[in-house]
Amino acid sequence: MATIDSIQGATGSGTNAIPHLDVDPFALEFFDDPFPTHARLRDAAPVVYLDKWNVFGVARYAEVHAVLHDPATFCSSRGVGLSDFAKETPWRPPSLILEADPPAHTRTRAVLSRVLSPAVMKQIRDHFAANAEAKIDELLERRSFDAISDLAESYPLSVFPDAMGLKKEGREHLLPYAGLVFNAFGPPNALRQEAIERSAPHQAYVQEQCQRDNLAPGGFGACIHAQVDTGAITAPEAPLLVRSLLSAGIDTTVNGIGAAIYCLARFPDQLARLRQDPALARNAFEEAVRFESPVQTFFRTTTRDVEIGGSRIGEGEKVLMFLASANRDPRRWDNPDQYDITRRTSGHVGFGSGIHMCVGQLVARLEGEVLLTALARKVGGIEITGPVKRRYNNTLRGLESLPVTFTPA
């Protein structure tokens, strides 16, 4: 496992030496149970070096937060995966927001922030809530079902594509496309290579669906295109910004909701607490995002020599941020390995932090809140009734299958 192989002065010539660890955070065995290895990474040093992929890593909350909040030094325009766009051709045209730095990022970010603002959430809230109620009613009729396909996937797919204004045809490409995008942030392992090999039909669908004519009026997609008319963005930029929402707007919420259901199924005392006080639904979802961290990692690339956590990192180096580890760092959190729906979750980095913090966080919270509110009112118990299967992805943490039975309240 994660032993410290060597401590080389060479990579830590600034101040503190940086320990080299033999950890592959993109291996299937790691995905099965990342938490003990996260603890070793945190305890080894503020900054570590992972020989397997020749990257620096930060796993403590303080350093992860510091990297997220210094985008001038830890840039995104060279890619937020392992691939360095300064040295390799990206597998798709780079994102105008995720894989961009200020000032270019500032303009595109403002557009998506407007499209997904708190004021817009007020408008879509009732519709999202009604669909959540209907979904829970339907599942209570069935009693036994798969909480991943029939709930965590099914609910976001019942609201988000319509909110985007997508055509009915071709939506089956959405989850495979998102899985591809998040696998592609990883190293050139089998997960990434196989996803890219199979990507052509999904990419073709997304490219077509991002065009203005294919987006229904009033949806998020049409709202993005409307920003062309105000001069905020150019016509060729609009489809790429729609693409950002299709890349990051579905699989993330699927895994967030899946995490919440899995938590409530494993920790019945927390389900009981939620049933007593359904107003805790929103925080129960937020705590699940902290606890499971559906988005586990992102990379940055250094733009200069920098000292962080008492260690020196040279220019042009990839730095892997272990968001999930920061979210369970005992230096920051009391009882971090406990799922506690009354916890003050503010400050967790499950949605990132700083200028690149998830632009769709309000949509994710809305979906999580209304679904868990309906569940809190209607469901008395959740029992896991079959084998729980993990789904492997280089960036996303979630399940493939979670067979459950719901008991009515």
Partner: protein, 107 residues
């Protein structure tokens, strides 16, 4: 150290010492002021740290950004002329005695 007086919706008030450079949101969340939710952790992205700034203090704060202005339109409680996001108020000696009223809801 500058102090902030937080007035809760039931008119009870709490006076809390702040460190210079800390945001009013951080002061609230680290001192158990539950009316400040701060879901986004201080990134000016969620409008759940909404406060009403006492009239005598409103003009002494740094002006709000366009982002903050837009977010306040979506705040859960009514937006008033003295509405601000507490994550965007940075504490400094000249803000000693700042008075912030807390809305009855953030979500």
């Amino acid at each position: 150290m500058p102090t902030i007086t937080f007035i809760q919706p039931n008119n009870q008030s709490r006076i809390i010492e702040a460190r210079d450079g800390e945001s009013a949101m951080q002061v609230a969340t680290s001192n158990g002021i539950d009316e400040i939710v701060a879901e986004c952790g201080g990134n000016a992205m969620c409008a759940t740290c909404h406060v009403y700034v006492d009239e005598q203090w409103i003009d002494r704060l740094a002006p709000m950004s366009g982002d903050e202005d837009a977010l306040l339109d979506g705040a859960a409680a009514e937006r008033l002329p003295n509405s601000r996001l507490s994550c965007q108020i940075t504490m400094a000696p000249e803000l000693d005695g700042l008075i912030l009223r807390l809305p009855d809801r953030q979500i």
